[in-house]
Amino acid sequence: MTSGFPELWDTRSFGRALDAAFNGIVANWGETLEIIFMPVLRAITGLERGLQFLPWWVVVALFCAATWGAGRKVVPVIVVAALLVLLGLLGVWNDAMATVALMLAATVLSVLIGVPLGIAMSRSDRVRGGMLPVLDIMQTMPIFVYLIPFVMLFGPGKIPALLATIVFAIPPVIRLTDLGIRQVDAEIVEAARAFGASPRQQLWTVQVPLAMPTIMAGINQTTMMALSMVVIASMIGAGGLGYQVLQGIQRLEVSRGLIAGLGIVLLAIIFDRIAQSYGRRVQANLHREGK
């Protein structure tokens, strides 16, 4: 085989060694990992079944309640209700609920992991220096590359789909948590220190509340990225709307792909409305003027 660049070291045996090492991990740890992630799998399946089992109007009511809780405004609630009904009319309700379950699980886990990582990054330049290149790699590495090891570890199914989605969707929440905390007015943090706030008190009474609008923007982006991942994740057995798109491609059925794609767009708008109205309320709380 000829190559433009001289072969200075044996890439093939390096690749083989890497594969062998990974196969070793799969053989030794695969089962343990599967057991560890069992509760997560149960939670996702439970959520999916629950959303599909409930009458559609109960689901709509739940979404409306969440929207009201997030923004305390009527208009977004009506918009969300209308979009959900439209989703039902498209005939993709059950697939959409499966997608919602996976996406919610991915988002919740991303926030639970990402916000603490972002906080750690904001507190130490060294941690930040180490994290930034990792985040860059996570965001630029083609997504299919993560699918291979996850599928090998867990076999096709919801767990590898969930993990690949988290890896893909978590960087914005980490980055924006770090950014938000770093942008908090240094004088207010200094005031907290001057009044004897411990580092923990500074974090929870000043930094996190004041960084909230930025953190929410990160969560919103993470949600959108998780949603955009569903089509790819369906290739490894995530099911849902992505699977319909995939089938559309395989069967060359334009309508199937188009309708499922529209469903994904509707879900994106719904979650964006909810997140934005929450973000706007947090922002307003920080800069109240007049009543």
Partner: protein
Amino acid sequence: MRPVKIRVENVSKVFGRDPAGALAKVRAGMDKGQLKAETDHVLGLHDVTLDIRAGETFVIMGLSGSGKSTLIRHFNRLIEPTGGRILFDGDDILKYDAARLQAFRRRKVAMVFQRFALLPHRTVAENVAYGLFLDGVPRAEALRRAGEQIALVGLSGFEGSYPAQLSGGMQQRVGLARALATDAEVLLMDEAFSALDPLIRHDMQVQLKELQARLGKTIVFITHDLDEALMLGDHIAILKDGTLRQVGTGAEILARPADDYVARFVRDVNRSRILLCGAFADAGLSTAPDAPVIGAEATLEAAFAAFAGGAPVVAVRDGDGRIAGALTPQRVMEALARGQG
């Protein structure tokens, strides 16, 4: 004399990668400019020594870059000195560990900031109670005590408002109430009134003086405004390039500036409002029995009215009620002209 509350002993502060090494060079005679040029270290404070007495208002003044904000942040260790000692009631606060320092900041010193530094997401009452919350005071008790301070600064009725709903002057009253709420013995005020309009600023100065008279706190006040320094300060320290140029009462500094810098600094001040009649009375001058009488502690400005009424001489009475001497328009003019060298 009142006991010393805060003693600053030979405090120096160098900003940079190797502060201790740079400080050694300064001690060997390198000046601020050289230090910056050759080692890229900034000399913030150099060998500052001063005593702040309990119950007084001590003003630290200087232009921007003089190190005054750096100095005040040493009193609650928001900034750590490179060298020297800081004693609070005789206790070396630099020896405090993290927990002790936190307790010290919660109970002994409170700070008021130039740009208010209020928590925008909390109400006025919650802001004022912030220091008490940090100290673990139960919420109801903290809010009750906050309410008292809010009333004291004249903001009753605004407890539930948010800082952004208030004017600058009102926000700084919240800042002041927050500092008073922890019942700290020392208030550190970092250019606390500099961001306010002149009229509101004057009101705040008057209010601070009244509070001080009532509460007897020790106040360390930073300003770049000489008139403010003279109005508020029992003692004034003048800082330039991180070194202390002079410490004294306003009248002392005006009457005997320690060096050219201080003299230039105080040149434009309205001396008649600061200088006292007693310091300029001529003991050798006899006065007619019907001459107007003025106290030794009155400012020269107070003598103007008597002269304007046609009196050629004003008698000056000292603290014991005796006539210590007399002032003529000539002597007053000389006293006022002395600053215009």
